[in-house]
């Protein structure tokens, strides 16, 4: 699958970012085998490919948890108390930002802005955006998810 994209870009070195995007879309994250594969095909040093993948925040180099909570920490969200929500999630589920829980069920990521600033603070739980979030509401949603109940959409 990824090979098709590489061919479509004519093995061009300048299409590295496009190919990494596609790879992450297909496999969820970029492990070292995948990066080596891309490096070999584009005839680039593996260090260069790793360097580019590690430079950009959007690329994930580790496997994310089963459920992913992404909390926005843009200026508007910060001013409206996003930090307290993030700390509360960290304490409640015993994980650190940027990492997953020991059982691999939940990851907490920080993003610099999802652009829902007028609805700040915003938290994305899997694919659902919670606007004007409170720590209670967010923790409750995550618990529901972990217990296997799909939360009702608002």
């Amino acid at each position: 699958m990824l090979h098709q994209t590489i061919v479509a870009h004519g093995y061009q070195k300048s299409s590295l970012l496009e190919i990494l995007h596609r790879a992450q879309e297909l496999y969820g994250y970029l492990d070292s085998d995948l990066l080596s594969y891309v490096a070999e095909n584009l005839n680039l040093p593996p260090s260069h490919v790793y360097g580019v993948a590690a430079f950009y925040n959007f690329f994930r180099l580790r496997k994310p948890g089963e459920h992913v909570v992404t909390s926005c920490l843009g200026t508007a969200c910060y001013v409206k108390g996003a930090e307290e929500i993030i700390s509360a999630i960290e304490r409640e589920f015993k994980l650190e930002r940027g990492k997953s829980t020991a059982d691999g069920r939940l990851s907490l990521f920080i993003t610099r802005c999802i652009g829902a600033c007028a609805m700040a603070p915003a938290v994305v739980i899997d694919d659902e955006v919670i606007g004007k979030a409170t720590k209670e509401a967010v923790i409750q949603r995550i618990k529901q998810l972990l217990e296997g109940n799909k939360p009702e959409t608002s």
């Binding site: 200026t75 001013v79 993003t111 999802i114 007028a118």
Partner: protein
């Protein structure tokens, strides 16, 4: 094309009502698509398909009360619309002709002081339909260029207009175009910069989602004036809807021979490709964006050579913010003189701002240059939300400046903002109330810039980290008397010695908070007191310091 515009206009005139449902990123997570569907269903249910057109549009601007719906004629703006409310609106407003008063948004004050030029089509046209754009006068500026104006005349028109780069630095647009036009090396490139990395800013994304063809038309005119044959739109991957909208717009434009070879049967070739960014703030810097489009780490390089002489793969490249480009068709259509009368001398036209933070009516606004911060925050934004008091306003993103209430009468133009220690940046205005601690807020921006520093030059990479450590110490209660002088000195070195705009502006929040909120620093250092109760806390609620 004229024929197409007329048919489309006729079709639009045949409807008595047009219901514009905002389906941009602000309203989408809150059920805008369900609302759109509910409107379509209700139109069928009441049998008013012939009188009432339901359209999926871009941002109307009132993002805090989404999903927002605009009913024309009369521009009735409904807030927080749900599928149930949608049915009510069709029943009362469309069928009976009675607007549902208690669901309307008090639009008067929000829109009165705005001047919608770049965002003129936002919320009024369907961004997925090129026909809508053409009916609204779109692509007529391109036709005018190709038929009537020489490339030099286009640049002259820009010179008269006084348009300056909207990406933040405010470089005169005509000059940039002129450099590229006069360069000899071929091929030439255009990069439309949509790498809106500033947290709290969503003006460019909104533009791309609401009116993608305005960006394409701007690029086409730029290509005509400079002789470029290939363009890239560099857009953040975090903006999936904007990416999707632009992709569709490019396809439609290609299908109508507005992109590609022999555009409109004229000897003029130009094509556009999207390039996805991947979450690097520094990639918005003009030499870093070149590296990123070439598939490398987004690291800036020293200038000169400027991109206009040696850009992508060493060829002349015009790099322009998308908001700047979206202004161009208007200038060509109405003339540079018309444009130069909007705003203030030396800073003409309008600027889009994302107004957020602790303000009553957050959203996307477009105001004439020269308007004061007070007008923006109080007249348009409705003042501070809740019953808190105004403390500061951050202008220009994480490397902008925090200004106090005494500066509220400052007019918004490049020079006044820079003089006050802030920058125009890419257009973020964040209102901060007395719930926030300015020391903590400044550290938030320093943290951001430390994370986003690309690591190439030492002042930015090491200097900012030193600043961060000093803040951590102050916030732990270990501040020293000499810290303030140290911060001031170090920040001025970082400003002077950094390679690119990130390092050169990163100290702004530190310097402006020191300048305007020095008292809070004094309290933190000498009295170990934080009036907003953010620092020195050990109850686990405070951030990790």
């Amino acid at each position: 094309m004229i024929h197409l515009a007329e048919t489309e206009l006729d079709a639009q005139r045949s409807y008595k009502y047009r219901i514009n449902v905002c389906c941009s990123s602000g309203c989408l997570p809150f059920g805008a698509l369900k609302v759109l569907k509910a409107f379509e269903d209700a139109v069928k249910e009441f049998g008013v398909q012939k009188e009432c057109k339901v359209a999926r549009t871009g941002c109307i601007g009132t993002c805090s009360v989404g999903p927002a719906v605009l009913v024309e004629p009369g521009d009735y703006l409904y807030q927080n619309v749900t599928p149930e409310k949608a049915r009510l609106i069709i029943r009362d407003h469309v069928v009976l002709g009675l607007p549902v008063k208690d669901m309307l948004y008090g639009t008067e004050s929000y829109f009165r002081k705005q001047h919608r030029l770049v965002m003129r089509n936002a919320g009024k046209i369907d961004p997925y339909r090129i026909e809508d754009y053409i009916a609204a006068g779109g692509y007529s500026a391109l036709v005018k260029c190709l038929m009537k104006l020489s490339p030099k005349e286009v640049i002259d028109e820009l010179y008269v207009s006084g348009l300056r780069g909207r990406g933040g630095a405010g470089f005169p647009t005509w000059q940039k175009w002129n450099f590229v036009a006069r360069a000899h090396r071929m091929p030439k490139y255009i990069i439309a910069n949509l790498d809106e990395g500033d947290p709290g800013v969503f003006a460019n994304r909104t533009l791309a989602e609401a009116d993608p063809h305005a960006i394409l038309e701007g690029m086409l005119i730029a290509a005509y004036a400079t002789g470029a044959e290939k363009g890239y739109i560099y857009i953040r991957a975090e903006y999936p809807l904007a990416v999707e909208t632009l992709k569709k717009a490019i396809e439609k434009a290609r299908a109508m021979n507005l992109l590609g070879e022999k555009i409109l049967e004229m000897p003029f070739n130009f094509d556009v490709e999207l390039r996805l960014g991947a979450g690097a703030f520094v990639a918005g810097e003009e030499t870093a964006i070149l590296a990123s489009v070439e598939g490398k780490r987004a690291m800036p390089r020293p200038r000169p050579p400027y991109p206009a002489a040696s850009g992508l793969w060493g060829n002349p490249t015009l790099i322009q913010n998308v908001e700047t480009l979206a202004n161009v068709p208007q200038i060509v259509s109405h003339g540079g003189l018309w444009f130069s009368k909007i705003g203030v001398p030396n800073c003409t036209g309008t600027k889009c701002f994302s107004l957020t933070g602790k303000v009553k009516n957050p959203g996307l606004i477009e105001v004439p240059m020269g308007i004061t911060l007070r007008e923006v925050i109080y007249d348009i934004g409705g003042g501070v939300a809740g019953d808190r008091a105004f403390k500061a306003v951050l202008v220009g993103g994480p490397s902008g400046g925090c200004l106090p209430d005494t500066m509220l009468d400052l007019p918004i133009d490049y020079e006044s903002l820079t003089k006050a220690g802030a920058i125009m940046g890419s257009g973020g205005i964040v209102v901060i109330d007395d719930n926030s601690c300015m020391v903590d807020t400044a550290k938030f921006f320093v943290d951001f810039c430390v994370d986003e520093s690309c690591g190439k030059c030492t002042p930015c990479r090491v200097g900012l980290r030193k600043v961060q450590e000093t803040y951590k110490r102050i916030m732990r209660g270990e501040g020293r008397a000499e810290d303030l002088d140290f911060l001031r000195k170090l920040c001025s070195y970082i400003k002077e010695a950094s390679l690119c705009g990130l390092g050169q502006t990163a100290p702004n929040p530190v310097l402006t908070t020191l300048r305007y909120f020095g008292k809070e620093y004094q309290e933190h250092i000498f009295e170990k007191k934080c009036t907003a109760n953010k620092c020195f806390r050990h109850d686990g609620e405070a951030r990790n310091i």
